[in-house]
Structure formats: structure tokens, C-alpha cells
């Protein structure tokens, strides 16, 4: 169903900015397959506001089946923000009266989210060496937030995650020896269980707003939040698919393991061993490989016909190229 988002934003400007508030700008920023982001602004009775609308534009499909609702996302942002995490400020959670479907509005945070820019752009040269440490610090406030009641967040550990992705992999019918070997290897190296915490679930370069002056400005994209091993969030930002051409800098293509771990510990997080992070990093590559397969399948099965999908299917080999090296090195 195509929905007139612009008209919805006009209406929203009036609702949030008071009668007569006029939309001064509105533009779509990015198009995920199932999620839209719009930047908009209006001149309200209390002055100008610059906001972001995040809305679901398509029903859940298989690869997003794990995601939480946008209302839950908004609650998590508010809860972690109240606990000191760097997150955007939620301005409004949309309801039926807004006619925008499942959506919420946040105050716009300035900065850069494009992973490649963070890794390469000279504007970030000065702040870049501090980013891994800041990411470690940022995770502590998230992991120490008590999960808000009634959200029904899923709890996963290493075994559950391997089971889940192996099931998805088997269902694809693909036969990839490197993925098979990674499953077998990781099953033999599942870390001992720890007390589970709230996790962002998609903590990687690309989902964090960075400011060239201060570093981490806001942690975005909370749709995969769940409960689990705190090392999972660290392993994901170290997965090479999110290093944007700088495999020599393991944290997001901008930093070192030691700084990530030290930042975490210095901000009061329970110290985490590198081997534990490496387990989740390898599982991260495996998980991304399986996700790439399912995105191809969504094209083959006619769920979506975007040319993007089969080409993402060809990204499985990037995870395989990473996995063979990790298997050789060990955790």
C-alpha cells in the first residue's frame, strides 16, 4: 500500500507544532527494504523543529522476523537514554490519528552514519582514534539498562543463535562448505554462559551517528534489540563486513580491540575477554552470510523483485573469505 508520507508529515507538523505549523522541509533519507527514514522540519509555535520520522513501509519479512515493533524501539531508546546512553530523543510515537502506519518521530541528531565516511573521510581523522573506546563506553549504558517491562524481548545465547541460523541456512537449500565448517567450529567453541543483558543487537559502523568533533553522537536502529551476551554487541561491530575496506582496524574499520574492551571496562562494564568477542565476531560473519542467502531467496521466491537482493546474495562469498581466515587463526 502506497501511502502519502508527505501529506502525513504536513498533518504531523500541525499536531506537534501547534495549529498553523507549516512543514518547512521533508525528504526521504534512506530506503531500507522495509523501513523508511524521513527528515522533516516545521516552524511551530515554540520555534523551528528538525525531526526524523522512522516508519515501517512493508510488513515483516523473513529476515526481519526478529525485529521489534517501532513502538518497542521507541521505548528502548527512551529507557537507555534515561540510563545515560547516547541515543536520539524520541519526540512522538505515531498512532492511528497520524495515518503514517507504524512510525515514531525523533529529534534530529547531526553527524555522519555512512560507515565508509567514518573510516575514510579526513574530517574524522582527529576523532577516529578515540572511537573504539567511545563505542565500548557507549555499550555500557545500554547493557546496564534494565529492560523495560512488558516488551517481550527475545533472549538468545550462542547456542540458540547457532541453532537459529543453521535452521535458516538448511531451509535455504544452499550447500556452502565454509559455512558448514564455521557452524561446526563455533558449536565446539561456545563461550561459558554469562548473565544476559539488554543488547542493541545491530551495533555496527553504519548504525551509529558519529560527530567529527565529539565522536559517538547517537546509537540508532534499534529494531534487533534483544537480551543476551554483552560480547555479542562487541563482536558485531568487529565483523569485517562492517569495516568498510579497513580489515586492519578490527573495530568498525576505525579502531582496535583493546580500546573497545578498555572503554567498556573503564565505564563500569563487566570486563569481557577478547576470545569471547571473537566468537561473536565469527558468528557475526556467519550470520551475515546466512542473511545474504535469505535476501537472495526473497528475490527468488518473488517476495521482492529488487535487483539489490540477488546481488546481496553474492555477498555470501565475502563472509566466506573472512571465515576461512578466522577459522585458520582460531578464536
Amino acid at each position: 500500500m502506497e501511502l502519502d508520507v508527505r501529506a502525513g508529515l504536513e498533518k504531523l507538523a500541525g499536531r506537534l507544532g501547534g495549529e498553523g505549523a507549516k512543514l518547512t522541509e521533508a525528504g526521504r533519507l534512506s530506503g531500507g527494504a522495509s523501513m523508511e527514514t524521513w527528515a522533516f522540519g516545521f516552524e511551530g509555535k515554540d520555534g523551528p523543529e528538525r525531526l526524523i520520522l522512522r516508519r515501517r513501509s512493508a510488513p515483516f519479512d523473513e529476515e526481519t522476523a526478529r525485529s521489534v515493533s517501532l513502538a518497542t524501539e521507541a521505548k528502548l531508546i527512551q529507557a537507555t537514554g534515561a540510563n545515560g546512553a547516547r541515543v536520539p530523543k524520541v519526540r512522538h510515537v505515531c498512532d492511528d490519528a497520524d495515518g503514517l502506519g507504524e512510525a515514531y518521530v525523533m529529534v534530529r541528531v547531526d553527524g555522519e552514519t555512512l560507515g565508509k565516511k567514518i573510516v575514510q573521510d579526513p574530517r574524522f581523522d582527529a576523532v577516529r582514534p578515540s572511537l573504539a573506546r567511545q563505542c565500548g563506553e557507549s555499550l555500557v549504558a545500554i547493557h546496564k539498562t534494565p529492560p523495560p517491562a512488558g516488551l517481550n524481548l527475545k533472549t538468545v545465547d550462542g547456542v540458540a543463535e547457532l541453532d537459529r541460523y543453521e535452521e535458516v541456512y538448511r531451509a535455504t537449500g544452499a550447500e556452502r562448505p565454509i559455512l558448514e565448517l564455521a557452524f561446526q567450529y563455533l558449536r565446539k567453541h561456545v563461550p561459558t554462559s554469562v548473565e544476559p543483558t539488554l543488547l542493541h543487537g545491530d551495533f555496527r559502523n553504519g548504525n551509529i551517528m558519529f560527530d567529527p568533533e565529539v565522536g559517538v553522537a547517537a546509537v540508532l536502529d534499534w529494531e534487533l534489540a534483544h537480551i543476551g551476551d554483552p560480547a555479542e554487541d562487541m563482536g558485531w561491530i568487529c565483523t569485517n563486513s562492517w569495516r568498510f575496506g579497513r580489515p586492519d582496524r578490527p573495530v568498525g574499520g576505525f579502531g582496535e580491540y583493546a580500546d573497545l574492551l578498555a572503554g567498556y571496562a573503564s565505564a563500569g562494564g563487566r570486563p569481557i575477554e577478547l576470545s569471547r568477542v571473537r566468537f561473536w565476531q565469527m558468528l557475526g560473519s556467519l550470520r551475515w552470510g546466512v542473511m545474504c542467502l535469505t535476501m537472495y531467496l526473497s528475490w527468488r521466491d518473488g517476495v521482492t523483485k529488487s535487483v539489490e537482493r540477488p546481488m546481496i546474495g553474492r555477498r555470501v562469498s565475502e563472509t566466506e573469505a573472512d571465515l576461512v581466515v578466522l577459522l585458520e587463526e582460531g578464536l
Binding site: G31, E175, R176, P177, I178, E180, L181, F183, Q184, Y185, N240, G245, R246, P247, D248, S285, S306, V307, E308, P310, M311, R314, R315, S317, E318, E320, A321, D322, L323, V324, V325, L326, L327, E328, E329
Partner: protein, 122 residues
Amino acid sequence: MITHPRTEELAESVRLWIDEIRPTLDPRNAFLARVAANAMATIAREITQGPAAEAAAIAGMAGVLGQEGTYAELNSALCARIRSGELTVETPGLLAALTTMARDQIAIDQPSYKPEGTVRSE
């Protein structure tokens, strides 16, 4: 196959045309056009590099498994024996064969990708 033009040249001509019209497109379509151009480049690389990569994969898998077969047969057998736990990271030659296969495949799919362990040369 005929050579005037070769299949990879057809793919290359389409890729060049897509790149030519990209600047005229709206942002979403410009993005998708870049993906489409990349797909044409992948097709061209698979046509030129695929046969040698497949032959190397067959030789590598046959060596590890100690049996002959087509690519599909050997690939299936390899997956089954890894899954059963019979072949592991300790199996002599397994990781070496898989590494060759992974490198050949990434060279077709995404030659600019820098895998884990790539040392930076500057």
C-alpha cells in the same frame, strides 16, 4: 561460442551504458543502477574467471575427499562430511582448499573486498 562480440563484452557494454545514465536518475534508482552495473561486471568476471575457479575448486575438493566427481557432487560430499564432523579445521588440506575457493569466488563476486587478515599496503 562466437567472439564478435563475446558474452562478457555484451555484459560490459550494458554496464557502461548503465553508468552513463546513472547521473540522470533519482537517488533510489541511481543506487539500484549502480547495483545493476555491478551485477553486469560480476557476470563478465564469472564468464572469464569462472571456469578456472571451478576447475581449481574441483581439484581441491577431490584432493581433500579422495574421490572424483563433478563440482556439484564434490561440493555436496564436502558439506556432508564437514557437517558429520568427519572433516574439521584440523583435517590436512581442508582449510587450504577452502581458502583457495573463497579467494577465487570473492575475485568474481566482489574483487574490491578486503577480507579479514588483509595487511594494509600504503
